[in-house]
Symmetry: C2
Subunit: 181 residues, 2 copies
DNA sequence: GTCTATAAAAAGATAGAC
DNA sequence: GTCTATCTTTTTATAGAC
């Protein structure tokens, strides 16, 4: 029973198809598990699945993004490290952001608080790095928000234009945020 | 038979719930039309509806955004005008972008070409304004893409954080794009 | 052009065997 | 922990009256 692999597959499905679009049939087919087996692991159905996926996502954020950003090397290197992780998370810009996808439709009502929380943690972490780089508190917070927004927007644009370049350029811009001081 | 009003309602539903999330029951309830009546107007079901909505959206883009941007007043004013229209389109940041929403799941396969086309026209229009403002061609194209991306991203962030400010700030930044030359 | 009624298909969910 | 089989509900779609 490799639950982590299962959750990774669910993450993949939900971010690709959205909450309503990821049907039990699709999930069953993609994971190779029958519907009854899925209900064994997640008695509450899709809602339970997404909650598990979001929990996994929170841990991933903490381990792969937030922790490295609290390290003691210089701010510029920490942003660079973050961009490398982000690039890996979204597979170079091929993939949607789970959090953005789950803000749609009925899913928003169900998972909004968790999503908001993750976004806030991420923004706060970037802002702290920028402050350490010498940027004034309020400006740093705004630049951090803009960085997250530009990542989200670049993912949409990349999907819309069939071109990964906008996403890659965004990552380059973020890396240089505290470089041009 | 006010077909425009109907299409506006459909636009509203699809950008709020997504393609799979906007079920015929919801559509019937929201528009006040029975399912059979909906099939009378759109024999091909939801796919027909979205195509009509996208066509409406293309016209809106041309009339409210692209045309004013080809006007002869100064570049800075044209960006300002665009931002006013964009603010109205997304209701100050409360609403999702239809194009972004339709890039998810199965909908992407169905409507991708139209979406790509609209995005390209919009980007090109912004780039032309920036070129007229004296920005070099290639830089102008990149800034235009970044502008669209930041709008899309700001919409997601605004929804995620329950705070319209990121979206309003983005519009302010875009207005100033060719102001600081 | 809209409705009621209904059919067909798919999605969500559970029982019980192994 | 997974499966087959089944059930319920919802979604999509159509027929035919008005």
């Amino acid at each position: 029973m490799n639950k982590e692999k299962l959750i990774l597959q669910l993450l993949e499905l939900f971010r690709r198809y959205g909450y309503e679009g990821a049907t039990l049939s699709k999930i069953s087919q993609f994971t190779g598990l029958g519907k009854a087996s899925l209900y064994h692991h997640f008695p509450g159905g899709k809602e339970d699945m997404v909650n598990a996926v979001l929990e996994y996502s929170e841990n991933w954020l903490e381990e792969k993004i937030l922790k490295p950003m609290r390290a003691q090397n210089n701010p510029s290197d920490r942003l660079k490290e973050m961009c490398a992780r982000v690039n890996e998370l979204y597979q170079g810009g091929e993939q949607c952001c789970l959090l953005g996808v789950l803000l749609l439709g009925e899913a928003r009502d169900l998972f909004h608080e968790k999503i908001k929380n993750s976004l806030k943690l991420w923004i706060e972490a970037i802002a702290e790095v920028l402050v350490e780089a010498g940027i004034e508190e309020q400006i740093a917070r705004e630049q951090a928000e803009d960085a997250i927004a530009s990542i989200q927007g670049a993912l949409i644009l990349a999907r819309g234009l069939d071109d990964l370049e906008p996403f890659q350029r965004t990552l380059r811009q973020i890396k240089e945020l505290c470089y041009k001081l």
